[in-house]
């Protein structure tokens, strides 16, 4: 049973902690990423879109197909390293089939607050079981 990750885009600050936690836990080379962070804005990393002063920017962490869907270890509460270390609480992990799981509860809470929930297409070289939720940004 592959567990899922729910990303609350409204809480993501594009800090790359998730990505670096994965890299150090799995000892990846400098230029190897199983997970990275995309800026939605002006094109470059951390560049806002729009024209001053009407600007916008948000971030989207992306899990690639190379992500092994790890479950961390007992020091991370058996959460993936990316999820465990995210400082903002943007990531929730667990079994969507279990209604009592943290992820199911969070998903329901966000849906109840009218967050838009979506997945991104697989042709983007992304792994399955990642849900994105966002509202008003």
């Amino acid at each position: 049973m592959v567990k899922s990750i729910l990303v609350d885009i409204n809480r993501c600050t594009g800090c790359w902690t998730c990505s670096m936690a994965c890299k150090t836990a799995h000892d990846l080379d400098t230029d190897e990423f199983w997970q990275y962070v995309r800026t939605i804005g002006g094109g470059e990393r951390d560049e806002p879109g729009g024209e001053w002063p009407n600007l916008y920017m948000k971030w989207m962490p992306i899990w690639k197909l190379s992500c092994t869907k790890c479950g961390g270890d007992n020091t991370t509460d058996n959460k993936p390293y990316c999820v465990f270390n995210c400082p903002t609480g943007a990531l929730t992990y667990g079994d969507l089939a279990d209604e009592q799981s943290e992820i199911s509860q969070r998903l329901n809470e966000l849906k109840g607050r009218r967050y838009r929930v979506y997945e991104i297409p697989e042709w983007e070289d992304t792994r399955k079981s990642i849900l994105y939720a966002e509202k008003g940004i």
Partner: protein, 822 residues
């Protein structure tokens, strides 16, 4: 079975002031991973880490790690060194120090003690050891650089440098105005960010007032773009609206501030009892009652209330008429807005003076200065009141010469609305990374050597240092020891540093890696990282933490205690440092702090700490502590004085706009653009600039960014190499054209070290030097004098008074122009 170990350490990037702990995983003697440390009890949700915390694990093994002692063989600044033995290094350094002492006196040796960016900051053992050294040798310590001065508003209005941690954010449900800086995701990227986002999710509206659209602006519900350095105009116009539209909280103003106190027209001083009654007191003040009779109010003092931050609910001090019951206004109901005479002396209340003062700061007028629409100003003032209890998060990020008056202008809004110190989510968070005073460790067993006497050692000002180079008749300064900090990267400007180095006979640096500062040193000594030494820390996340080495020192690196000991031994002081690093850490841990129990009431012994590693402290004021919930303020009246009589002569009795360089310098005609050098999110000051992942992420933002309109005027295109210049230097870097940068601004990140700028100036070369006459304004000078007097009155030894920061801060207060390469 691999040999695995888990230890706790401060992150290498404490300069961000989020002050996180990392959990370090070691396998077969090698550090393999750092991750978020799960702290015990309620502290668990007060410790999150950012990507730098994760990448801390790479720090000990970085390519530029200093592995053995180095001696300069090229010119200073060239970075050419030869490897030497520890014995040679220590012998030569000590011999030189002894020579210098003989010739110029022991005070000619300066140590830099500015902790910022060193793991553990002012709470670390290295900081204590530096004091031990200067006291043992009767030498000098240089003042701090003028940084983070946005903190200092309360020092003026309240008579003490009160700074709050995150406490009020945890209860903020309505509104948080983040004023200046970029805390969310950038400069306070972990727990502070999380708590701000938690507040937002609970329904608090986040508003960001700033000069640049960044992570914080992107995540906030409203961004209020303000022209750089003009924030005080916006705040005062908000105050204007609050008063004009009858939105002030009279009850709070009477209770907590000196709003009703009368100020004499003739001399601008608060009216004393002695002014109107023969034999009257100097520390009793005059208010006018509604009945038309005056009343005398004594200076408020309280034995119970602590000025260092034990929270006392203000309501305890209220009587039925809504004023303080202890030493209150007696039977008199004071008039807050009185103008008239008392015993023939013309006077008015400080509130009446404030009304006059802000009357000219109309929303329309501020628009002409700040660029913020008048309606936005009116709307935000109303929204702030309607959201009561609401919080203002005034971050360090107003790095201009006028930051202290600006800080006062912002605090004023919290007095007028009574939002300051509300227990339920209203306050001002001026996050100084200061923790509850009860968590401060007793360091006397480490700081004071056996030969300590109060006349030992001296803190010197940069201005005196520079003057000494011109005047052989005063104390000369010939040696600089730099056990922490990377001033050449982190403090502007290189010309200042060249002047200093040219006059030194010895410059010794101890460091973990080759930095810009190391390249100027005569000797570079390899120091251990936070992962290779013992440490004990208390405060952040309400815990006390015992840190044991995760790994053996890499190369020939040594801990600071060993270095100080070997040095002082050779200087003829064999007993100055007679313990090991671990022993000093133990002494400190055993001395503890004044809240050494855990929430279950159990005492925290050293043995327990050694066993458990991290223990939650039982804070006397609770975990959401807010120093502004205090109700007695340590100044002349005992109330908040938004009118400060001693500053009347220089026109700064009340928060007022004060000149800065970018808006008021005559050099604007020559250099019309604001040179705005921010710190990079993927680095932490000078830290992590050697970590490959950080360099990779940061690299796309190297160079300078301007608005396309500025480029068009100068016929420039995206990507071309351009020259950014001012009277101090020329920096040749790639140009990024960005629509998010306001006109009149050149934006650059300055954390990149000097290897990024071959054959051209670094950003800090163009920056306005700190702590020099160029930035010491009359206001700052007056403030510094008062600050020192206040600290001395508290019995703090002169070398330990944190002077220097009170000079005008000027990191962002800098002009330039940009041109095509010549």
């Amino acid at each position: 079975m691999p040999d695995t170990k888990i230890t706790y350490h401060p992150c290498q990037g404490w300069g961000c002031h989020d002050h996180c702990y990392v959990e370090c995983h070691t396998k077969d003697g090698k550090l393999v991973r750092t991750q978020r440390a799960i702290l015990p009890g309620e502290s668990a949700d007060k410790n999150f880490i950012c990507m730098k915390g994760i990448l801390s694990s790479r720090i000990p093994y970085a390519e530029d790690r200093i592995l053995y002692p180095l001696k300069r063989i090229g010119e200073r600044g060239e970075g050419k060194f030869e490897q030497i033995s520890w014995d040679q290094a220590l012998d030569e350094i000590a011999t030189k120090l002894n020579e210098i002492t003989k010739k110029y006196g022991s005070r000619s040796i300066i140590t830099n003690q500015f902790w910022c960016g060193y793991p553990g900051d002012w709470g670390c053992l290295q900081n204590d050891l530096i004091f031990r050294f200067i006291f043992a040798t009767d030498s000098s310590v240089i003042e701090n650089p003028a940084v983070d001065t946005t903190l200092f508003g309360p020092s003026i209005d309240m008579g003490d440098l009160l700074t709050s941690e995150r406490g009020p954010l945890r209860n903020a449900n309505n509104m948080v105005i983040i004023w200046g800086g970029n805390p969310l995701g950038y400069t306070r990227p972990s727990t502070t960010t999380r708590e701000l986002l938690d507040a937002q999710e609970r329904g608090a509206k986040l508003v960001h007032v700033s000069n640049l659209f960044d992570v914080t602006s992107a995540r906030c519900d409203q961004w209020v773009p303000v022209k750089s350095g003009t924030d005080a105009y916006f705040a005062l116009a908000m105050a204007h609206v609050l008063i004009r539209d009858g939105l002030i909280n009279t009850k709070y103003l009477l209770r907590e501030t000196a709003a009703a106190y009368l100020v004499r027209d003739d001399n601008g001083k608060y009216m004393r009892e002695a002014d109107i009654i023969d034999g009257g007191r100097e520390n009793a003040f005059v208010v006018m009652g509604e009945s038309g009779d005056y009343a005398i109010v004594e200076q408020l003092t309280s034995d119970e209330a602590s000025f260092t931050g034990v929270g006392v609910s203000t309501t305890e001090y209220l009587n039925d008429s809504g004023v303080r019951s202890s030493k209150d206004y007696g039977d008199v109901k004071p008039q807050i807005d009185f103008t008239g005479e008392v015993n023939g002396i013309a006077c008015k209340t400080s509130y009446a003076l404030l009304c006059e003062h802000v009357s000219t700061f109309t929303p329309e007028y501020q628009e002409t200065v700040t660029g913020i629409p008048a309606q936005t100003c009116v709307d935000l003032a109303h929204a702030y009141v309607n959201a009561t209890p609401a919080t203002i998060f005034v971050y360090f990020g107003l790095r201009y010469l006028n930051s202290i008056p600006t800080s006062r202008s912002i605090f004023l809004l919290s007095y007028l609305t009574g939002n300051l110190g509300q227990a339920n989510g209203g306050s001002v968070v001026n996050q100084g990374a200061t923790y509850h005073s009860a968590t401060i460790m007793n360091t006397s067993g480490v700081v004071f050597p056996p030969n300590y006497t109060p006349d030992k050692a001296h803190r010197i000002e940069t201005i005196d240092l520079l003057d000494s180079f011109e005047n052989p008749d005063v104390q000369q300064y010939k040696a600089w020891l730099n056990p922490m900090g990377n001033p050449l990267l982190n403090w502007p400007n290189k010309t200042l540093w060249r002047t200093i180095f040219d006059n030194l006979e010895l410059f010794v640096e101890w460091e973990i890696r080759m930095t810009d500062t190391c390249r100027w040193a005569d000797y570079v000594l390899p120091e251990v990282t936070t992962f290779e030494r013992h440490e004990v820390l208390s405060g952040p996340a309400d815990v006390i933490v015992w840190c044991e080495p995760a790994i053996e020192p890499v190369g020939e690196a040594k801990d600071a205690t060993w270095i100080w000991h070997e040095l002082t031994k050779r200087m003829g002081l064999p007993d100055a440092f007679d313990k090991t690093n671990e022993e000093y850490a133990q002494i400190k841990a055993r001395s503890g702090n004044s809240c050494m129990t855990s929430p279950d009431g159990q005492p925290i012994t050293f043995e327990r700490l050694q066993e458990e590693k991290a223990i939650q402290l039982n804070l006397p004021a609770g975990r959401d502590w807010d120093p502004f919930a205090d109700s007695i303020w340590p100044n002349a009246t005992g109330r908040i004085e938004f009118y400060v009589e001693n500053l009347a002569e220089m026109g700064q009795a009340m928060a007022s706009p004060y000149p800065n360089i970018i808006n008021d310098s005559p050099l604007r005609d020559q250099y019309p653009l604001h040179f705005y050098s921010g710190r990079h999110k993927y680095f932490m000051q000078g830290q992590f600039t050697n970590i490959a992942e950080c360099r990779m992420l940061a690299s796309t933002q190297f160079g300078v960014a301007i608005n396309p309109a500025e480029a068009e005027k100068r016929d420039m295109v995206d990507g071309e190499i351009v020259e950014v210049f001012n009277q101090r230097g020329v920096m040749r870097v790639p140009l990024n054209l960005r629509n998010d940068i306001p006109v009149n601004m050149v934006h650059t990140w300055y954390s990149f070290d000097e290897t990024y700028y071959p054959n051209t100036a670094c950003p800090q070369e163009l920056e306005t030097p700190l702590n020099t006459r160029e930035t010491l304004t009359p206001f700052n000078e007056a403030f510094r004098t008062k600050f020192v007097q206040d600290q001395e009155a508290q019995g703090i030894p002169q070398p330990m008074i944190g002077t220097g920061m009170q000079c005008g801060e000027s990191f962002w207060d800098c002009l330039c122009d940009i041109r095509k390469v010549r």
